[in-house]
Amino acid sequence: MLSRSAAGPSIVDREVTKFGDVAAEWWDPRGSFKPLHALNPVRVAFIRDALCEGFGREAARVAPLAGLSILDVGCGGGILAEALARLGANVTGADASADSIAVARAHAAGDPSLHVTYRDATAEQLVAEGAQYDAVVASEVIEHVADAAAFMRALGALAWPGGMVAVSTLARTPRSYALAIIGAEYIISLVPRGTHDWSRFINPEELTMLGNEAGLALDRMAGMSYNPLTGRWRRSDDTGTD
């Protein structure tokens, strides 16, 4: 989680197509994105707590994010965006894959009380429009972009001054290599094969540096670990993964 104290094309086309192909599977509870569904409550709790602290709110209540505007960059099928909307936030989900956005819209339409605005747009396009939000969230996205530094600058520009930026990523550390790449893609099929490219993984130190360069100060960091036996994610203070 980074806070903004003060934005270029960051998307890799190949990466966008990769997710577009599996877009229909976003909401398949037993499909490729199953681990992401399992991870969701844990990452939502982390983002919720950080935003509540940052904006002086109480987390342990109904709709703790009520009234906050949040941009979810690289929202995919809307797994995280829907959850943040249920916590009361005014959520805009943006994704460069039009297929994913179509899936996200169709899914949210099933529940009439769920209001999420979806945009088939990149972070840079939103910056060019001058859009700004209380908080910007990019979860499991930065490892798919071509220019991570430019991406971080875009995220920073999308937050109001005093706003917050939350970035989560699978880290490029020996442990995450074992867990996220080998384990994830070839043994337990954590995320669809080819969705994560090892050379693109970013470790916590790099993320902090990129944040600093984009004018963002580090507020907190948390690790999450996946237990392949139980299929559950857990918050850990060890930032070896994520």
Binding site: N40, P41, A60, E82, G110, D111
Partner: protein, 423 residues
């Protein structure tokens, strides 16, 4: 009852109180909490300390606590072949009482009172029947059929009288022959025991705070203290014998109970027990007299469990998910534990922005833990039942030995007591 407990638990938790809840029943449930009739009703439940804590959480315990119900501190289980006896006490599990026996109608009324509190946020609707239920298709079918409704679509319900509504979650708490379970196409497994459970109210001659259970050739007979000095009889027996007992005069019925509980032989001294352990030795149960009011009533006994408790936008709780043999009186306790676990799962979903009807959430946070717990209990109850049923010499000898050995081993007994008490 389990449905009302679930709704009351949701209303009592600030995290879930904001959920809009509609509770419907085909028949108006008992609501009167006024002065209780002098003679307690026939349908009672033995509540474990764990169930009492849930009823407390639902805010309903003060309407159920003694003198509205009866507490017991000891339990004695013995065998009609005279070869085994085991006594349990609350002290062994480190609890003040082993359990409470409360009338089902009272429990239901106490829970409903909570649901009628202003601000409970629960709409009550009866008499009303669920006539149609449309759940979103599983993802795999959506893929095959090429679209249609989104996987996030709500459940659609059709009620008698033409009202239609949509819900994020449908909870089936409609008992052993659950209509919701049928409409949702969930498969069940089970078997009938070919026996009946007979319930009756009697009056013990002396004050009684022990739960007594004797294994007779046709099945167990339990005598449980209920409020106002009465006792409830739960007698598992053959359909023929049950019919005879139902037709008997109140005096003849009391005689039959006395004969069954007092009849020889009494268990011999337990060789496993140290001479000083008189606490654990066999005691004679009180004699009973007829009580005025309704005569005995019997029900067929069967075990029926649903293979799955959840689907997308659907959860089953209580007897709808698992109707157990009433041998150990665990039906209501298992149901209340389901209600507590589902209410907790929804509270967790609310705090993490998850859809309360999400199949993955329901599976992980409700179905998996409850199936494990209920499955263990189902197996234990069914196993117990099978061990005790055939009254062959060899088996009953082994059984007697088993009970005696159990009585003498504090650790094993304590674990069983704690398990049965849900602590």
């Amino acid at each position: 009852m389990v449905g009302a407990a679930f709704a009351a638990l949701l209303a009592a938790n600030p995290l879930t109180a904001a959920l809009r809840v509609l509770m419907l029943d085909r028949a108006p449930p008992p609501e009167a909490l006024g002065p209780l009739p002098p003679v307690p009703g026939l349908r009672v439940s033995t509540l474990t300390p764990a169930s009492v804590r849930l009823i407390e959480r639902a805010g309903a315990w003060r309407d159920v606590a003694p003198p509205h119900s009866a507490a017991f501190k000891t339990m004695q289980v013995w065998d009609s072949s005279g070869s085994g006896c085991v006594r349990y006490s609350a002290a062994e599990a480190g609890e003040p009482v082993m359990g409470h026996v409360a009338e089902n109608d009272l429990l239901q009324a106490a829970l409903l009172r909570q649901l009628r509190q202003p601000g409970a946020g629960v709409e009550l609707l009866w008499p009303a029947q669920l006539e149609g239920l449309h759940l979103p298709k599983p993802f795999s079918e959506l893929q095959r059929d090429g679209g249609g409704a989104a996987p996030g679509a709500l459940a659609e319900l059709g009620l008698s009288g033409g009202r239609r509504l949509r819900a994020r979650l449908v909870v089936g708490a409609d008992g052993p022959r659950s209509h919701v379970r049928q409409l949702a196409d969930l498969r069940t497994f089970g078997w009938a025991y070919g026996q009946r459970g007979l319930v009756a109210t009697v009056r013990p001659e002396v004050a009684n705070t022990c739960a007594w259970q004797r294994f007779l050739p046709h099945g167990p007979l339990a005598l449980l203290p209920v409020r106002n000095g009465y006792a409830n009889i739960v007698w598992t027996t053959t359909p023929r014998h049950a019919a005879e007992l139902e037709a008997a005069s109140p005096e003849a019925f009391a005689d039959a109970v006395n004969e069954a509980l007092q009849g020889a032989p009494t268990p011999a001294r337990n060789f496993f027990l140290p001479a000083a352990a008189a606490e654990s030795e066999f005691r004679r149960p009180p004699l009973v007299r007829p009580a005025s009011g309704r005569g005995p009533k019997s029900f067929p006994l069967a075990l029926r469990a649903s293979g799955r408790y959840v689907r997308s936008r659907l959860a089953l709780i209580g007897d709808a998910a698992h109707a157990v043999h009433p041998l150990a009186g665990q039906g209501v306790n298992l149901g209340l534990a389901d209600a507590g676990a589902l209410a907790d799962a929804l509270a967790y979903a609310v705090t993490t922005g998850q859809d309360v009807g999400d199949e993955g959430m329901l599976e992980g946070a409700y179905e998996a833990p409850r199936q494990a717990a209920n499955g263990a209990m189902l197996a234990a109850l069914d196993g117990l039942k099978r061990v005790f049923e055939p009254q062959s010499g060899l088996l009953s000898g082994l059984r007697g030995l088993g009970l005696d050995a159990l009585n003498a081993v504090p650790g094993a007994k304590q674990r069983i007591v704690r398990y049965a008490m849900g602590v």
